[in-house]
Subunit: 289 residues, 2 copies
């Protein structure tokens, strides 16, 4: 095997990776080589463009550390994360739709009582979140774990505060009650740009794109016998709903965050200022075998 | 634009990148999205496989520093470097064929006189290299710059010695004489594995591939009015000629490194031990406008 030209080299590489023992490695390697070579044959990069691509990937790798995952941002911004999400969530029945996990999830957020204020020390407009969890095409789930996280009114998550003085806030875990219901208090999230001071920000700029996501609250919900649900609920009326930089918006996940006057809230709390109210009823798909 | 499924998301991302001002950025972004999404739809990665890919790219980036370029190794091992080389060197007439630059080139190697020994302090079998440089379909070029580099008999380049005690060796620059000829002394190179203690080595292992390149001497040759020539000359008979890990071998670049007994060499030098002799006549393509 030698003397490869711009057409024969693809079969040469495919022949080589056909030696992989693991059939899945063989399948993915073969497909990667075919699609990658087709891309290169189509665009015919110059040597300088190839060097630029090597440098872009290297800078993207160097930007990754424990607080920043630039390759996930790249995957998000190229629609790859939502495509992988769609492929893995061909949902049965009336299960709630999914969207990307995003880079700001933290495992083992504090577990709080129903009705708690999960952002006691953060300025912002009060937000009451109420909801329920049930099995798709079936009844409520008591004791489901509802893991929730969101940004502040300036669009920043707690983990983006580099001095970490803010601690863990605007995130918590709650368990649904006997009727499958949950509620908690927090503050209104806001639209925000994904971190855009690195290679992905440069790419978005070159592509003539803004870096914004519409305001949303993240939910990850788990219960025995159910597929874990990873999704958001988006703020109705947000200006970025139709141009989310990561292509994550689905109509079924948009809800009004209703503006209400000071007074007695639906959970019986007395609120001294105007506040907002979000309600969402989640349905979990059955666990895959 | 929302509610994308695993098919509609591709056109959504293409529509977004169509805003790029630079037409080349627009073209490459559009092609990247189409081919990347096609690849993903074909292999249908699980969420765990997607996470593995993010981690693989991150580790590849973290392996890159001033002495190591893991993304170039990845490009080489997937046949991408040779494909880009082939696309950029559709050669006219009888010009010498090209192959990859590789990661061990050093700019501004010392310029030496014709006939010099470029590896005086390195153990190995003596090797006399003779050759000539001319324009494709035309006559000899006087004063062409011949930049040469190669490994030692264990397969290591000078720059791979981390303590750098060896200094610059087995590399030099020479100028052709009035008749377009050059010659120098060095030692025999050897076949060697590309650095395989990182993610690319793990990939080769998973794909059931060895990491070896056949023994070769690198040449980069420049002259006014000519396209710079980047190529190797490979050792005839090497066991890895048909399985070069980077797919770089072309028959026109393979030559005997002839075994000769002690005695008077073709350049008049008296050699006290058996030695080898490589001869190659290079032809440079005209410069592109």
């Amino acid at each position: 095997m030698r003397n490869f030209d711009e057409h024969s080299i693809t079969d040469a590489v495919r022949e080589r990776v056909a030696n992989a023992k693991n059939p899945r490695v063989r399948q993915i390697s073969d497909a990667l080589v075919r699609h990658l070579h087709d891309f290169i044959r189509e665009v015919e990069p110059t040597q300088a463009e190839w060097e630029w691509a090597i440098d872009f990937l290297t800078r993207t790798g160097h930007m990754c550390d424990k607080n920043r995952q630039e390759f996930i941002l790249l995957s998000d911004a190229l629609g790859v994360s939502m495509l992988v999400d769609a492929i893995n969530h061909r949902l049965p029945g009336d299960a709630t739709e999914t969207t990307v996990l995003g880079p700001f999830y933290v495992q083992e957020a504090p577990e709080v009582e129903l009705g708690a204020d999960i952002s006691p020390d953060v300025e912002g407009q009060p937000l009451l979140v109420t909801g329920s969890v049930r099995r798709a095409n079936d009844g409520p789930i008591a004791g489901a774990m509802v893991d929730v996280w969101h940004s502040d009114g300036d669009g920043y998550y707690d983990v983006q505060q580099l001095d970490e003085t803010r601690g863990i806030t605007m995130r918590a875990r709650l368990r649904t009650d006997a009727g499958g219901k949950f509620h908690f208090w927090t503050i209104m999230p806001a639209a925000y740009p994904i971190p855009n001071d690195g290679p992905v920000g440069q790419m978005l700029d070159a592509q003539g794109r803004h870096p914004y996501r519409p305001g949303h609250v993240h939910f990850m919900i788990g219960a025995p016998g159910c597929e874990p649900l990873i999704t958001h609920v988006f703020v109705a009326g947000d200006e970025y709903l139709d141009s989310d930089v990561v292509f994550g918006v689905k109509d079924s996940l948009v809800r009004p965050f209703e503006e209400l006057p000071a007074g007695t809230a639906p959970d019986g709390t007395t609120v001294k200022e105007p506040y907002r109210h979000l309600h969402y009823d989640f349905a979990l798909a059955p666990a895959r075998s």
